[in-house]
Symmetry: C2
Subunit: 529 residues, 2 copies
């Protein structure tokens, strides 16, 4: 099944906004119903491919004719990713970032052959997994490019139950990977909000982090070995869980966002399927009180498997538990809702849960039972569907995220909130800015912001200054430009400042060695020359 | 205090071999007393420095005249590291790898100034921390070089108790760093065998792993931010515990062994000082039975802070508890000794210890009480002193180590043991080969081998084929060429094969960008052009 071309996910799961939310949008933010509906796919007219017939023949020779697609639907479905500006542009019929063709290789050698064909014909290459980038990771700065869709590379290549490792192909979607592993009694434990659509290769290329990261770790911590197909050949790395044999090349490929090569296999750490999964809610008087409680668990344990905390606004709106959106708004003064989830054996889960409860209560938390936790777990993948409903209703909704060391979290929270609120208010569309912590570490945490406002006349132009102001605030307050969405093209200019001129030039030296003609995702992650 | 120039550690701690060991060496291995004692430092005559007076003046301008040392003792004390071949060469008066001068900068800017002075005068630069490399990491392939001794950069620059981070200068020796942190109630938890002498910068540059890695992690897992001084300027990295902003540049600097730049500050994760430290022994019938028990704890917990297992030979000799060397030899059939150590709060330690005991007993282990554990803890830094005593007694002793995924551990163990035994036996000096596991992960473990034999006529020439055979066995059996000693010059040729041509050329591209004239540790880690 294909994802909704100009929105998120399975079209059958789309749902209109609850009335409480529609009322809130109108009363609080002045959101008015949209006058013009989004265009249909049949209305979209991308420019005809300009790639030479010889180029298409070379691609067909690499992967087979039936695996080179130049039809409008295929090309439009591979245009950009799923950021709100991406969707707004598609809804308006703007397909300026359309690929020349969509190419579907069956394996590593076909990927190498595609790279050779593209080099020979001057075509850029954009690796495409689930197409879920929200940072412009699929919008290269080159007009003639092919989209390299990895969906045919969707096999479990090997599973070593003793070492608890599995070798996965990059085009496996997360649910497919989980199903294959579950058949052997294992799980990866990687459940990001994009779970239903995102792929193993994309997780690795963009350093994804899942909602159960407190227990299972980030995706980059799960990766033990990688194979990378580059225009200069094959790079493989990872012979042991840890090594002192030089710099860790795995960590050079992770986060390279398709700019150094195409990830064609990923060896991951797997864990036994949990016996028990339970999620519960906790209430805190304030975001900072709750954050201190999360910090205590992250530093001294016991570590829940899922640990998150919504700020006052997100709690009030109900975004902390998507199935309950708007329900709390009438109550007022709801404080902050935290969710703690536990997965594992029955004994270990019970023990951790009991001890964590003592810590959370000692930090001022009030237990709210399992109902809010299970509501969160049930609705955990629904936020992107909600965004489509908000866009349909004439609202603007977007997210951004960062991370920092604990001592910087309060200042970072205030700085980003203020930047977003001030910029959008000055533009005449005062926003609702919500925030949660969803990934905790001994030394710091992530902050994830959701912004909802009226759309304004030109919603993309309206949003851009607010996003830029947020990026500036992130850097000034000591945060990283992205904790788990990645760099893409949207964060590139700030990433360059974060990495510094010498860091960026070291990475460009690597890119020039692996991709001397600059075919791979030009302008994504690193500026073009 | 300076380390023994041609051996290990504090000369006052040197101790002769127990008689049981001397007897064993003679009876089992045919070790005969040495006929010629090692030379004294006063007998060593290194070649006079050839560096131009202008070069020495430029260095003096960078760091102050009193911090540029050209006296024989300083130069000889900075000649090579502490591998057994290094020591044997020094004992024989071979100082071919002597530096032109020893330069002691006071801070980051002085390091940059030294790099500029060296670039201007064509001198190579070898960063020098504790001088404890056992892989030829201080023996560059360039005759005219200066040793950049970082001992004056020995301050704690910052400590953030909320985020539990500390900023350390690279020249801090581990005990100094621990003392500074302990004054604030914290510990780094990094206790490698080189603890007494090795430095923070060296730990980072060589991806050190400490004996408490099961609980505190490896050094590369403790590093949150780094500053690197390079001939092309300063590179800083690390704004958050984790980030999705591109490849992880920290992991490109960690393990770079001075070939990309000089690490001038390291931000590390710190933890509260433990309330309790306890070590206990367990007996297993065989190495593989014990390894399966360690795997169980590493995969399913609870995780001790220290977890190690000696094979039958190491247990029999008593190397598992250095204070008891030779004591078990008479008993025979001692099985394999494991050490499990626990550090933390009293409650957490008791709980983990109790649950781990159930797991270990369930895997066939027999509790041996705390006596073997405390003997191990007491003697944990004594093995390198023991080596000097062995060399004095006419024996040859050296170590090497690797790591692999769990399913490869049995084959790797057998392959390396066989390679060492066969090569040395064919050469007429049948060895005693001992092994332990001292670092465990969910997906694999390290193997650390100790070899003792008679020295043979030319002990370095005698050892080289055995070491090469072991390296070949490591690669063939799926291990990494080093789990925690590093690459240096000794492992370089095998590292190049492990990293692969494209991986190596990517790293060389980084080196060329940061060190275009190839001043930094030429031939260490990466081959020279």
């Amino acid at each position: 099944m294909d994802m909704l071309w100009n929105g998120w996910g399975d079209p059958a799961k789309a749902a209109p906004l609850p009335e409480t939310v529609t009322g809130l949008l109108h009363d609080l933010l002045g959101v008015e119903p949209r006058s013009t509906p989004a265009l249909g796919l049949e209305d979209i007219r991308p420019p005809a491919p300009t790639a030479a017939p010889a180029a298409l023949r070379a691609l067909a020779a690499a992967v087979g004719e039936e695996h080179v697609r130049t039809d409008t639907a295929s090309r439009v479905r591979h245009t950009r990713g799923k950021s709100t500006p991406d969707l707004l542009r598609l809804r308006a019929g703007d397909v300026t970032d359309v690929p020349q063709a969509v190419v579907l290789p069956a394996g590593h050698d076909e990927v190498l052959a595609v790279l050779r064909a593209c080099a020979a014909h001057g075509l850029a290459v954009v690796p495409f997994g689930g197409g879920t980038s929200v940072v412009g990771g699929l919008a290269p700065q080159r007009s003639a490019f092919v989209s390299l869709d990895l969906r045919r590379m969707n096999r479990l290549l090997d599973l070593d139950p003793l070492s608890r490792t599995a070798v996965l192909q990059p085009g496996l979607r997360a649910p497919e990977a989980e199903a294959l592993l579950a058949a052997e009694g294992f799980t990866l434990g990687h459940f990001p909000q994009s779970f239903e659509w995102a792929t193993i290769g994309g997780f690795a290329a963009a350093r994804s982090s899942g909602q159960a990261s407190a227990g299972y770790g980030r995706f980059d911590e799960m990766v033990l070995a990688l194979t990378l197909a580059t225009p200069e050949g094959t790079l493989t790395t990872g012979r042991a869980p840890r090594s002192a044999a030089g710099p860790d090349l795995r960590q050079l490929i992770l986060g390279s966002e398709g700019a150094f090569g195409v990830i064609t296999s990923v060896t991951v750490r797997i864990r036994p399927l949990p016996e028990v999964r339970v999620h519960e809610g906790w209430r805190f008087a304030s975001f900072l009180e709750g954050a201190a409680a999360l910090r205590r668990l992250a530093q001294d344990g016991p570590r829940p498997t899922v640990l998150r905390l919504s700020d006052e606004t997100e709690t009030l709106v109900g975004l902390a538990q998507p199935d309950a959106i708007g329900a709390d708004a009438a109550q007022g003064g709801a404080g902050c809702l935290a969710i703690a989830g536990y997965e594992g054996t029955a004994e270990d889960t019970a023990h951790r849960r009991e001890r964590a409860a003592t810590v959370l209560a000692g930090c001022g938390g009030t237990p709210a039972g399992t109902a809010p936790g299970e509501r969160w777990a049930h609705g955990r993948y629904s936020a992107p569907y909600l965004r489509d409903a908000l866009l349909d209703a004439g609202a603007f909704a977007e997210t951004l995220e960062t991370a920092a060391f604990w001592s910087r979290i309060p200042g970072l929270y205030t700085a980003v909130r203020t930047a977003l609120t001030d910029t959008l208010t000055r533009a005449g569309t005062p926003p609702l800015v919500m925030c949660h912590i969803s990934h905790v570490y001994e030394n710091g945490a992530s902050l994830y912001f959701t912004v909802v406002s009226a759309q304004g006349e030109d919603p993309v132009a309206h949003w851009t200054p607010a996003k830029h102001a947020a990026n500036e605030a992130v850097l000034a307050a000591g945060g990283t430009i992205s904790h788990h969405h990645g760099v893409g093209t949207d964060h590139r200019d700030w990433y360059v400042r974060e990495a510094g001129p010498l860091g960026v030039s070291a990475l460009r030296a690597v890119k020039r060695r692996l991709d001397p003609e600059g075919l791979l995702n030009p302008g994504v992650l690193l500026p073009t020359d």
